[in-house]
Symmetry: C2
């Protein structure tokens, strides 16, 4: 069996058209976001929509809950879909919902989405007070049941404390190094070193606000950054988390940014003059473009094993170590 | 491996004491009720309580979702706990919640609990209009995902239509034949013949209101009734569904009977002068007493294979054919 191709973060406006593009691009597994600001009950409605897609398109996609499902998808020419939350809102104030959500197939949960949550501090807050009392308890519970702590949208101290407190490796599923592009959402060398030294994974994002030069970022610049990250942190701790938001209307970026927490519009990584979804780089528009990144990484002098790992093998190993109960 | 001992309906006030009694009585699996009138969200709180019990008492109980879990429980000297609803209230008006509930481990659902539901008519209504439009759709969906239709508290026509409409065998998990004791909750020969001819299962109840003579019913009378049922319907379609409500306060019987649907007290199978839980027969008080029934059945002249089947083997076979998706 060849090494699988895995994209560990997408929030596209999913449709049979996009599932067909996953197949065309040879994508074996995708971790999809199913909640930003939803309550538990609202999140269940999103799960129901996915159940309907699995029932209606069994030739294209399967529900993924274990690393073996990636192999099963490969063997049957389908894409395994794994679920994650970008915010802990679906567990509300109830630690018992962590295990319930794991039983429903959730495999990643961010402790924060930009703002302070009940668990930790988001990267847009002025003060970062680290893991809360509940946050520590929830990380321990996530470790127990097999749900990965994701700190992509969290602040520096909170992220370092999550790495420290977690007994299992954590993930930053979709972000880039701050030393390459100094965006608020990109991560410091301190964080990335601590993350990867503890066995954690970084997924590189192609969301334009995370790219040096935005949508005009070249494939060469992106892949040279990955090659440098492989030197600093080890290629085995790196993967892709494209943050693909294909086909989403601009109303969705507003839901992502303000949910119901504000009556005032917040532009997040955008601005009043650039409020919607930014255009993607020409070399990564949809699921058919992963071969460009593979080519770009090879041209940076990375070995075939390193490239295979970054394109999916590392996430596959991480899945196999992360999703089962302790 | 010996034939397992299975009780396919209990709604005790569960506790480590009762779990220990299950072990003492050699009970390998129990189907427990986790909802009477709960909404989906309220039912999830009941699941959380069970998750905590599984975490805290791994030496006594395990969560059961497949027939293989019964064998695993036997091999490790524990009791497998399977979940069911006595009312479809947790799926609310949303057919997508059938699959969500199956993913959460629910394996049985009654289409009604005494009253008219969105799906069918309960046994206490004056008019029985059979399966509703949604009821037919939900039975088909339950067949698809692997959730057993249970008609224990349903009215005659609705039950016959459920047997007819379901593509998989259904169950009456806890009731007795009307020809033995003419209680409203007990089932006609017509229903029991149709049920078992379609491969469905009847679980015999020891709830006193379902017994000839109530709590004074003799073991001999109960076992002679089972022997007669085996002659009429075939021993392979019979099992136990004790309806054990051990340690419940009388406030719980009121919740079962009126939930939030009435401001006026309804006495159900009881009466104003006998409103609480009735006392159990002396030969079946808790999970340690199943050996009395085994002895009583043997004394009725049933073969060892027939007795083994009724005491659990038949439910085990039914589980193996019922819980997986089509």
């Amino acid at each position: 069996m060849r090494t699988p191709l895995i994209d560990n973060l997408q929030y596209a406006n999913f449709s049979p058209r996009i599932f067909a593009q996953m197949r065309e691009g040879g994508v074996d597994a995708v971790h999809v976001t199913i909640a930003y600001h939803e309550s538990f009950r609202e999140m269940v409605l999103n799960l129901e929509r996915w159940n309907r897609w699995f029932e209606d398109h069994p030739d294209l996609i399967i529900r993924g809950t274990t690393s073996a499902d990636v192999t099963r998808a490969q063997e049957t020419n389908r894409t395994a879909i794994f679920f994650g939350f970008q915010n802990p809102s679906p567990i509300e104030d109830d630690i018992g919902l962590v295990e319930i959500c794991h039983q429903l197939g959730i495999r990643f949960m961010q402790l924060t989405y930009n703002n302070q949550s009940l668990l930790a501090t988001g990267c847009y807050e002025e003060e970062d007070t680290g893991l809360t009392r509940m946050g520590k308890q929830v990380v321990t519970e996530m470790n127990r049941v097999g749900m990965v702590v994701d700190m992509s949208h969290s602040a520096e101290r909170s992220t370092l404390e999550a790495i420290e407190h977690s007994s299992r490796p954590i993930a930053i599923t979709h972000a880039n190094p701050h030393w390459w592009h100094a965006a608020l959402r990109n991560k410091s060398d301190t964080v990335l070193s601590a993350l990867t030294q503890a066995g954690g994974m970084l997924g590189f994002s192609m969301y334009p606000h995370h790219l040096a030069g935005g949508g005009a970022c070249t494939l060469e610049s992106f892949c040279a950054m990955i090659a440098e990250a492989a030197r600093r942190y080890g290629a085995q701790n790196l993967g892709i988390g494209s943050d693909l938001c294909q086909d989403q209307p601009d109303s969705v970026v507003e839901w992502m940014r303000v949910g119901r927490w504000s009556k005032v519009i917040d532009y997040g990584e955008g601005s009043a003059s650039n409020a919607g979804f930014p255009p993607m780089p020409s070399w990564f528009v949809d699921n058919r473009d992963f071969s460009n990144i593979r080519t770009g990484l090879t041209e940076q002098g990375l070995s075939t094993a390193e490239v295979d790992g970054i394109m999916g093998g590392n996430w596959h190993r991480f899945y196999s170590e992360s999703f089962a109960p302790l």
